[in-house]
């Protein structure tokens, strides 16, 4: 597969390195900064083109017309958007991936036809959120059909402590799938299982019901 990476910063560099480890890929990085180009060439070989990855002339030389995939990972959302849009519209690149720095841009990128958007900011925030005690509900995984797999730790003062699962008023289409005791032992929930302090509850819920589920499992009496 011929993959063109726009932006030779840290993300572009490590991405190229990973892709080059698989022999079936041909990789080219486009980078404007001469120093960065030199460093990439020294470490990864002759796989870098100096130029503007939004400029049609550079894109022509880079061979966008035969690229299977374009991945734009500069630090500027506007440059990533334009690279991918030009790749799609002018060069018919089948798959475009854009890095997004401002999470709010995800919607517009998708509406404008960028195939995949990757937000490091969102990934980092999600990871930090897991460590923040104030964010009690941790989103684990987005499942199909608007469902999410989430986890929440039951606080000591929560109303649900001591209740059996069958007595909980969970929001529509929410399901408790696993309980983890504070000592780390997993328990398969039955209708009779009672909820203890500091239990970690793993549940499936609809995205729109996340807040309601969090309220049921964590709010105090």
């Amino acid at each position: 597969m011929y993959v063109i990476i726009v932006g030779g910063g840290k993300v572009g560099y490590y991405l190229a390195k990973e892709l080059l480890a698989e022999p079936q890929h041909e990789v080219l990085i486009i980078e404007q900064n001469a120093d960065k180009c030199e460093r990439i060439a020294e470490e990864l070989g002759d796989i870098v083109l100096r130029g503007d990855g939004c400029e049609a002339a550079t894109m022509e030389i880079a061979g966008f017309g035969r690229a299977d995939m374009v991945i734009a990972v500069t630090g500027d959302d506007e440059d990533n958007l334009v690279s991918c849009q030009v790749a799609k519209v002018k060069f018919n690149v089948p798959r475009t991936v854009a890095r997004i720095n401002n999470p709010k841009n995800q919607e517009i990128f998708q509406r404008l036809g960028i195939d995949v958007t990757v937000s490091a900011t969102v990934a980092i925030l999600a990871q930090i959120e897991q460590e923040l005690p104030t964010h009690q509900m941790i989103p684990f995984l987005t499942l199909g059909g608007g469902l999410e797999l989430v986890a929440v730790k039951v606080p000591a003062e929560a109303q649900v402590v001591g209740s059996a699962i069958k007595d909980l008023l969970l929001p529509h289409e929410s399901l408790i799938v696993l309980l983890i005791s504070p000592d780390g032992a997993p328990r398969a929930p039955t209708p009779e299982t009672t909820i203890a302090i500091e239990d970690e509850i793993v549940a499936v819920t609809r995205r729109e019901n996340e807040d309601a589920l969090r309220a049921v499992l964590t709010s105090s009496a």
Partner: protein, 140 residues
């Protein structure tokens, strides 16, 4: 008409001044406060400091209620992103976008944006002038 102008450079500031004199409700946005010095002292529109490629900034300055959005920063790509956000996310009825690069300008025009390329326009005007007879007294 409510008009939001992104970029208070030479073009943005003189357009803002003109529209404001004509009685339009003008909001100017620029990342640098000192850009507003280009506006005339009697400018009675609104001035906001902020980056127009940030949707939160556009929401805050009321782009959702604007009748027109004009992107005239120095960055083609910034103009392209902001204009598409104004058009597709905020539903601004009229959006205008300056793109220096003729190739990108043509492409975005084909994609349905109202764009202008000062590069093409300037070249056309100069080309036109050159093919006319020079003004009297300036013969080579």
């Amino acid at each position: 008409m409510r008009v939001v102008i992104m970029g208070c450079g030479r073009v943005g500031s003189s357009l803002a001044a003109r529209l404001s004199t004509e009685g339009h409700d003008v909001t100017v946005l620029d990342v640098r406060a000192d850009a507003f010095r280009r506006l005339p002292s009697n400018f009675n529109g609104k001035k906001h400091i902020g980056n127009g490629i940030d949707q939160d900034v556009l929401a805050r300055i009321g782009v959702g209620d604007a009748d027109a959005f004009i992107a005239v920063t120095q960055g083609d790509n910034r103009n392209v992103l902001a204009t598409q956000v104004a058009k597709h996310i905020f539903g601004v009825p009229r959006t205008l976008c300056r793109i220096y690069d003729p190739i990108r300008e043509e492409m975005y025009r084909e994609l349905g944006l109202e764009t202008i390329s000062p590069t093409v326009m300037g070249a056309n005007v100069l080309h036109g002038l050159l093919s006319e007879a020079p003004p009297a007294g300036e013969e080579a």
